[in-house]
Every structure is written in structure tokens, then in C-alpha cells.
């Protein structure tokens, strides 16, 4: 079996028991060796604070200078593995330098564990951590309510903290939160479920970490290939080496090089002594092209119909990491490092800083260590980038001080700067269309018609998976395609809506109107929503032109959905932790006569995608 890798970070205040928790995971995943255990037992007797018990925290003891002076030095990386997974833990100290440390640890994490001391409740510090986790868009969050032993394993205390956190997190953009009551000291719900919390229906921490699904958090849609170096051993071979930042690529596919905008086709994809039939996000490969076009380090290969944003003015959320402040009253040249490029730049303007305790915005001209700010940066040449939310690799930068060579800041790109939007987006590959154009004009240009592929089905039926696969396929074929799903609309367009029947109808109405606008621009829009009520789906059909709406029923046996339970929602619904859950205590009206029926419990995804493609071809859409 291929073992997978999960990178996570732990955050918490100084005495929340973070070291004890990590020490416990290391100890109980049985990766400690005899000699290390002997040292731990000896140290526990000598320095420990747990009486006769092993003090797991001592496993985490750091450098001599840390122990001597009580100084915590930045992030440490720990490892442990179980038969299922290897784990890389970024262990960030809870000291006052929290922001810099957390950003460092969080930048590569798939998951964050936020520790809360049950006896103290939700503190300012916990809110700070949650804010930073949200800012860095870490896909999964575990709120570990620790020291349950100090509150007699009280369900009420736990529920109060969970409620407080839920209420606070509505202001944030956290996508997937799991709550677990633990006692790191006494090993309750750490590696195994504890008998002391019979009221807790979820899993222990370690089994959860072993199962949490992280693959889908990568962007496999937008092909971005920053070139690291050109490999030219002889005149017969000229390859471009790099790590695929996002998307997928196959030999024969057309690509264009930025900034030259010259196009060619992929000849071969090399990985050492092999050539690959396809390569995808995360792989380090070497690509050869059919034509001799000028490409060097720092350039980027992308697809013609899926360009990144291009601008030399960008809006960035910046974390200032240097002791020496940035003072805009005397502008200072900095270097932006973005993918494999380095470009001279200035911080043009500080829009505001964010108080991480209150989330209030403040006006200032100076950034101090650990400040988080929205800034405008001007670069000497155009950057080609994506929003950090959609692409961590092409949406992140660091700033380097060219005099001291220090890394002074980390930044997440929000967008091209609004004030320069219309000037800067101009590129020979993007046609500026004025709004007199009709849908037919767009469709003519695109070479296919606009349509809505509406995926409906129970939670866990496979809608998102199928939606992504259709999206990738149509995109790879050069179609103008986009995708709407529950998570992305509920964080923005529909963030004011809940899950009552009325709110659900309104949610679907808005999505319907939005997809109509997309169709008017000639796009194929994949909508992936449970959309339980027939009347709502019929409404969307009614506002679209004839033959443009494909009701696609993801037909999957509910028992299979429950077994899959990718987000653990069925488990929670059955346990009564969430109400109004479709299929459990809220009805689902299956389509009686769908345009397409996909039996996702029977056929593999590739076959289902093929059925959709065949249908679109039959109907003359593509």
C-alpha cells in the first residue's frame, strides 16, 4: 500500500499542553525507541511535573539555549508514522512571536490543531490562532479541547467551548472544523476513545488524523508550471525543469510561455529515466516542447485558455516578520520572490492593519514585527499569479530586504490591485469584449455552446468528485468551463443563508441566476449542490434557455453515502449534532426524469464523466 503524508501544525498558548499532546502522539504511535524511552523516563523523574507518570512534554525539549534561558525558538518539525500515514508536525511555540511562527508552520500545513485549555475556555489566544488559520486557508481544523481531566470530563464545559468557537468562527473563513475533547496528559481520546467521555460520539484524535482526506485540497484545474531551470546537456535536448504548481498536463497539449506568450505543444514529460503519460500538481518533472521557444528560469508555462492574472500592482495580505519595521515615510526597495522569480518591488500603500485580537482594522504607515496588513505592492515587472485562495503556490510571495538579505515578510496575494484592474489585465490572449455582445458571439468564439450541468444528490454521493473530474476534462479539452459548489457559494454569495427550507430555496435561486449569467457568456457551468427540492431545480431550468439545463442525478444508495461520509456529517447528523440534514431528518426529492443519471455507487468516476461528455456531444453543446 502507498502510504500517504499529512502535514499539520499545532497551535495553542504556552500552557495549553501542546508539547504534552505531541509527545503523547509520538509516544503512543510506538515510534519511540528503547533508548529514547529510557531517556524520557530518566528525565521525567529529574525534571518532570507529572509525579510518577511520564512527562510527555519532555520529549519536546529543545535546544540547550532554550532550556537555559526559557527562550522558545521558532518552529520545530517532528515526525511520526502509523501503518496508514506519515505525519510531519510543525510544532509552533505559543510565545509572543506567535504570528511569525504560526505563519511559518502553517504555510505548508494541510491541517491545524488548535488547542484550548478546557479549564480556561476560549481565550484571546485561541481566537488569534483561529484567525491565522483562516487567513492562511488551512483546509482542515481540529479544535482539541484539552485538559478535560481538570473539568471532570464535563460535557457541558466542552459544549460551551464548542459553541463559543462556532460563534466566533462565523466571522472567519474556516472550511472544515472538527471538535475533539482530549486529555493529553492522561491519553484520553488521543490515540483511543476514552471511556471517560461516553457522551462524545466522534473519533479519537489519531484515528481522525489518519483518515482525514486531504488530496482534494490541491488545485488540479489550473495548469501552472513555473520553470526552475533549463536542462541542456547537449544540442539535442532542451528541457524545462520545475515542479507543477497546480493542474495537470499531458504530452501533445498546447501550452503558452509567460511572459513571451509564445505557444507550443508538450513533447515529453520526463522524470529521470522515465517519460510520463500525464503529470499533475506536486510532481517535479522536466518538460520538453515541440518548438524552440525562448524560456528561462522564472517563466511560467500555462494553458492558453486558462491564464493566471497578470499585473504589476497587487493587493496582498502581508505578515511582517522582521524586527526592523517597515516605514512607508521612507520608501524602501524590496525583492518579491514569487514561484521561481525575483522582482524588485515597493510596498506602495498600507490599506490597513488587522488587530488579530479583535479583527478591527487600523490605519497606519508603519508595519512592526508580527503585524498583519493589507498592502498594495508595485513590482518592476508583471507578475503572473493567482489568488492565494485558489492556488497556494502561485498566490504566495516572500519579501526580501536586498541589503540585509533577510526574509522580512510573507504575503498572500488577494488580487490584482483594483485601481489598476482595467489597465493591467490587457493581454493579447484575453479578448476585451464589450457588453453589446450576445451569447451567440461568445459561443462562436468559444467553439462550443453554454450550458448548465446541474449535479444533484445526497451528501456523500460523489457530486464534488464528479464535478471536479468533469471540470478537469472539459478544461483539458479547452472548453470554457467553471464550477460552483456548496462550499464556495456559502462562503461568499450566500454566506447570509442557513439551511432552512426557505434559505435552501433562496440559495438555489441565487446560484441559478449566477449560472444563467455564465451561460450568457458562453460558459459551461457545473453546479454541484444537494438541491433536495424538485421545485428549486425546476426553477433553475425555467430561467435558462431551452436545452441548456442538464439535470444530472448522482444516484447513490444512502447506505453507501453514510459509509463514505467524507466530512463526517452523517455521523454528526445521526448523533443529533446537526439538524435538518438531508437524508436523515430532512427529505430528498430524487429527480423522477433526470437528463442524465449517474450511478455513482456502481460505476467508476471516469465512466460517469464519459456519460456526461457523450450527452453534451449528443445535444450539440460541445
Amino acid at each position: 500500500m502507498k502510504k500517504s503524508l499529512l502535514r499539520f501544525l499545532t497551535c495553542g498558548s504556552v500552557d495549553d499542553g501542546k508539547s504534552t499532546l505531541i509527545g503523547n502522539l509520538l509516544f503512543n504511535s510506538k515510534k519511540l525507541c528503547q533508548d529514547q524511552i529510557a531517556t524520557l523516563e530518566r528525565d521525567s523523574k529529574k525534571h518532570g511535573t507529572q509525579g510518577d507518570k511520564v512527562d510527555y512534554a519532555l520529549l519536546m525539549d529543545g535546544l540547550a539555549s532554550e532550556r537555559e534561558q526559557g527562550i522558545t525558538i521558532d518552529v520545530a518539525y517532528r515526525f511520526f508514522e502509523t501503518p496508514e500515514r506519515k505525519f510531519i508536525v510543525a510544532d509552533t511555540p505559543g510565545h509572543e512571536q506567535y504570528t511569525r511562527n504560526m505563519v511559518t508552520g502553517a504555510s505548508t500545513a494541510d491541517l491545524a490543531i488548535i488547542l484550548v485549555d478546557a479549564s480556561k475556555g476560549l481565550l484571546t489566544q485561541s481566537r488569534r490562532h483561529a484567525f491565522l488559520v483562516s487567513l492562511l486557508q488551512i483546509p482542515h481544523v481540529v479544535l482539541a479541547v484539552n485538559k478535560m481531566d481538570l473539568v471532570n470530563y464535563s460535557e457541558d464545559v466542552y459544549n460551551k467551548i464548542v459553541e463559543d468557537f462556532k460563534e466566533f468562527s462565523t466571522k472567519l473563513n474556516l472550511q472544515d472544523i472538527t471538535f475533539i475533547p482530549v486529555s493529553a496528559r492522561d491519553s484520553d481520546n488521543v490515540t483511543e476513545k476514552s471511556s471517560k467521555t461516553p457522551w462524545y460520539k466522534g473519533e479519537a484524535l489519531l484515528p481522525f488524523l489518519e483518515k482525514v482526506y486531504v488530496k482534494s485540497d490541491k488545485n488540479f484545474v489550473d495548469f501552472r508550471y513555473p520553470v526552475q531551470t533549463v536542462i541542456r546537456p547537449n544540442s539535442n535536448f532542451r528541457g524545462f525543469a520545475g515542479r507543477i504548481a497546480s493542474g495537470t498536463i499531458r504530452p501533445g497539449e498546447e501550452v503558452i510561455a509567460l511572459p513571451s506568450e509564445k505557444s507550443s505543444r508538450v513533447k515529453d514529460i520526463h522524470l529521470y529515466d522515465r517519460t510520463l503519460p500525464e503529470a499533475f500538481a506536486g510532481q517535479s518533472v522536466c518538460i520538453t516542447l515541440e518548438d524552440e521557444i525562448d524560456i528561462s528560469r522564472g517563466d511560467m508555462l500555462v494553458r492558453k485558455n486558462n491564464l493566471p492574472k497578470m499585473s504589476n500592482e497587487i493587493d496582498v495580505t502581508l505578515c511582517w516578520m522582521n524586527e526592523k519595521p517597515l516605514d512607508l515615510s521612507s520608501p524602501k526597495r524590496l525583492i518579491v520572490k514569487h514561484t521561481s522569480r525575483e522582482i524588485n518591488a515597493f510596498v506602495e500603500k498600507i490599506d490597513y492593519t488587522i488587530d488579530v485580537n479583535t479583527l478591527h482594522r487600523n490605519q497606519t504607515n508603519i508595519l512592526h514585527l508580527n503585524d498583519i496588513a493589507r498592502v498594495k505592492i508595485t513590482t518592476a515587472q508583471k507578475l503572473y499569479f493567482d489568488n492565494y485562495k485558489t492556488n497556494r503556490n502561485t498566490g504566495s510571495i516572500i519579501l526580501i530586504d536586498p541589503i540585509t538579505n533577510e526574509t522580512v515578510a510573507a504575503g498572500m496575494i488577494k488580487s490584482e490591485s483594483r485601481e489598476t484592474h482595467s489597465d493591467e489585465i490587457k493581454s493579447t490572449n484575453i479578448n476585451f469584449e464589450d457588453f453589446q455582445l450576445t451569447r451567440e458571439d461568445y459561443e462562436k468564439r468559444n467553439g462550443h455552446l453554454g450550458a448548465v450541468i446541474w449535479l444533484t444528490g445526497l451528501s456523500g454521493s460523489g457530486k464534488s468528485t464528479i464535478a471536479k473530474a468533469i471540470l478537469a476534462k472539459l478544461n483539458a479539452d479547452g472548453k470554457h468551463v467553471n464550477c460552483l459548489d456548496g462550499d464556495n457559494v456559502r462562503h461568499g454569495l450566500c454566506s447570509d443563508l442557513g439551511f432552512t427550507a426557505d434559505d435552501r430555496s433562496e440559495n438555489i435561486r441565487r446560484i441559478g441566476e449566477l449560472s444563467k449569467l455564465f451561460v450568457e457568456n458562453g460558459n459551461i457551468t457545473i453546479c454541484s449542490f444537494i438541491s433536495p427540492y424538485q421545485k428549486d431545480r425546476d426553477f433553475v431550468r425555467s430561467i435558462l434557455p431551452e436545452g441548456k439545463f442538464f439535470e444530472t442525478y448522482i444516484d447513490c444508495d444512502i447506505e453507501t453515502c453514510k459509509q463514505r461520509d467524507p466530512k463526517g456529517l452523517y455521523k454528526k447528523a445521526i448523533a443529533g449534532e446537526i439538524n435538518g440534514f438531508t437524508g436523515i431528518d430532512s427529505p430528498y426529492e430524487a429527480p423522477t426524469n433526470p437528463d442524465i443519471r449517474l450511478k455513482s455507487d456502481t460505476y467508476p468516476v471516469a465512466d460517469l464523466v464519459e456519460s456526461v461528455i457523450v450527452k453534451l456531444k449528443d445535444q450539440g453543446i460541445i
Partner: protein
């Protein structure tokens, strides 16, 4: 499952990316080559990073003059067969003074013949980017080290003055005479290294496999009698099937009793082992925080 990478694939892709970034940012890179298992993996990763071209930097071996004979034989053959440029450096002054672990003790020997030899050779070579095979799981001070570890002109590491390292954006900027040590396999564990060697069929020094070898027992360590510089002082030379989990200077590296002769058997033995890798490294037990101290002085 489509588009999923195993742990080894991810670690490999990350390491290749790091190696390419470092070379692109450097003027005079070099890779430290200790002939051990981590070095074996590092060389393969470098080959992968630049294939089908050659590895664009030399390998540097710091020869303490007390390495196992089999290591030196393997080194020369391996580098020649793989078309790798090999540089060997030793501390001439130390050798002339007859410095060795038996006469001067492990601490002094390591300082003069390893740390000082390393610093000398890096200064003489004027290298600005030095690849090392250190892993964060080896030792607690390594857990705190960045992938790009900045060194001042005295080759010193200051744990309190490390550059923030976020995403995969590495800052390799330096002033003259400063350098960066780059650790592409920081996130690998000992098991990852062995599994990768097995998967890729990478050749390794035969000392990792069990063979009947002569040894004496010193302070509980099984020290192989590799040449006649070993003072026996009445100790009994035993012979048995032993192998090594880590390779250094032969008098400072303890062997283990074992019958392992294949990679598959070795991995099996490792999985069931409950002794850590560096337990047989005598120099790690020279005093509290000894690795950190050595690193501050310029050791890797």
C-alpha cells in the same frame, strides 16, 4: 486513485525542487558526500533533478582518515561508475599531528578531523551553497533547523537568527564569504531513506549488510577491527555476523549483531527494531546538547 502521490513520491518531488532552487541561486555549489545511506539518496535525487544532464556540482568527502576501508573502496567505484566529480579533503595538519580517536578522544578527533576539516575545505573551495543530507528526525537540534540554513563568514549557525521559511519559497541570498547549507531531505525519516533505497535499487556500502567481521567490545559498543591502528590492550577480538545502521569513523561507530543480507530483510529488521539510529554514534553522547554545540562550531 488518480492524482495522488505516496509519501515517498511527495518527499522526492519536494527534494528535487529544493535541489534545483539551490543550484539556480548559487554560484559555486557542492554536495557533501559521506558515503552513507543519506548520501546515496542525495546523489540519486541530484541525478533526478538534472536528468538527462549530469549532476552540475562536485561531491565533497571529508575524510577523517579513520573511515572504514570498505567505504573508501565503495566511494571511488561508485563515483567513477556514475560519472560524478569527487573531491576529497582531509585535515593535513591534524594528520601530521597524528590526531585520532584512540589517542585524542572522540571529541577532539571529531572537532579536528571532521568539523575543522569541513570548515577548511569549504573556505578553500569558496562554496556558497552546500548540500547536506541531515534529517530533522536525527536529533533534537536538527528538528529546529531550516531547509536553507544560513551560515555567516565563520560558518556558524545561529539558531536564533534563522530566516523565516514559508511555503516553498527559499531565500538563498548571501553576501561574499557567507554560505547557505541546504538540506533537501530534512523531512525524511530513517525509514523513508531505507524505503527509497529499496524502491530505487540504489547501491550502498556493503557494511550495511551483515557479514562475519572481527570486532571488540568497548563500553558496550561493538567496534570493528578495521585496521592495525586499533589498540587491542588485551581485549578479545571476536568474530560474528554484524552490520552497521550508520557509518562514520570506524572506532566511533558501533555495529549490531544481525543476519540481514537483503534490503527487504533490513527493512523488516528496522521496523521491529527498538533502538534508535544514533544510539550507536559515540559522538552524540559527548555531553548535553553536544550536536547543537558542534553545529554552532560549523559541523553539519
Amino acid at each position: 486513485m488518480p492524482y495522488s502521490m505516496s509519501q515517498l513520491d511527495q518527499l522526492e518531488a519536494e527534494a528535487i525542487h529544493i535541489i534545483r532552487e539551490a543550484v539556480a541561486q548559487a554560484e559555486n555549489p557542492v554536495m557533501l558526500y559521506s558515503v552513507g545511506k543519506d548520501s546515496a539518496v542525495m546523489v540519486r535525487l541530484a541525478q533526478k533533478a538534472f536528468a538527462p544532464g549530469p549532476v552540475p556540482f562536485p561531491l565533497l568527502h571529508i575524510d577523517s582518515q579513520w573511515k572504514f576501508k570498505e567505504m573508501i573502496q565503495f566511494r571511488d567505484k561508485f563515483c567513477e561508475e556514475n560519472g560524478l566529480k569527487l573531491l576529497v579533503h582531509y585535515n593535513k595538519e591534524g594528520k601530521a599531528a597524528g590526531v585520532g580517536p584512540f589517542t585524542h578522544g572522540s571529541r577532539k578527533h571529531t572537532d579536528i578531523m571532521k568539523t575543522q576539516a569541513l570548515v577548511q575545505s569549504l573556505e578553500q573551495g569558496g562554496y556558497d551553497m552546500i548540500f547536506g543530507g541531515a534529517r530533522r528526525d536525527e536529533e533534537k537540534s536538527r528538528a529546529k533547523e531550516r531547509i536553507y540554513s544560513f551560515r555567516d563568514k565563520f560558518n556558524q549557525w545561529d539558531p536564533k537568527n534563522q530566516r523565516p521559511e514559508v511555503w516553498s519559497l527559499y531565500n538563498g541570498k548571501i553576501n561574499p564569504n557567507e554560505s547557505v547549507r541546504v538540506f533537501p531531505i530534512s523531512n525524511w525519516t530513517e525509514m523513508d531513506v531505507w524505503r527509497y533505497i529499496e524502491r530505487e535499487s540504489i547501491p550502498i556500502v556493503p557494511l550495511y549488510f551483515a557479514k562475519k567481521r572481527p570486532y571488540v567490545e568497548i563500553d558496550g559498543n561493538l567496534i570493528m577491527v578495521d585496521d592495525d591502528r586499533m589498540p587491542l590492550e588485551g581485549r578479545e577480538v571476536k568474530e560474528d555476523y554484524i552490520r552497521f545502521r550508520t557509518l562514520g569513523c570506524y572506532p566511533l561507530t558501533g555495529g549490531v549483531l544481525s543476519t540481514v543480507t537483503t534490503m527487504a530483510e533490513m527493512i523488516e529488521e528496522m521496523i521491529n527494531s527498538d533502538i534508535s539510529e544514533r544510539n550507536s554514534r559515540v559522538i552524540d553522547f559527548d555531553g548535553e546538547a553536544s550536536m547543537e554545540q558542534k553545529k554552532r562550531e560549523g559541523y553539519f
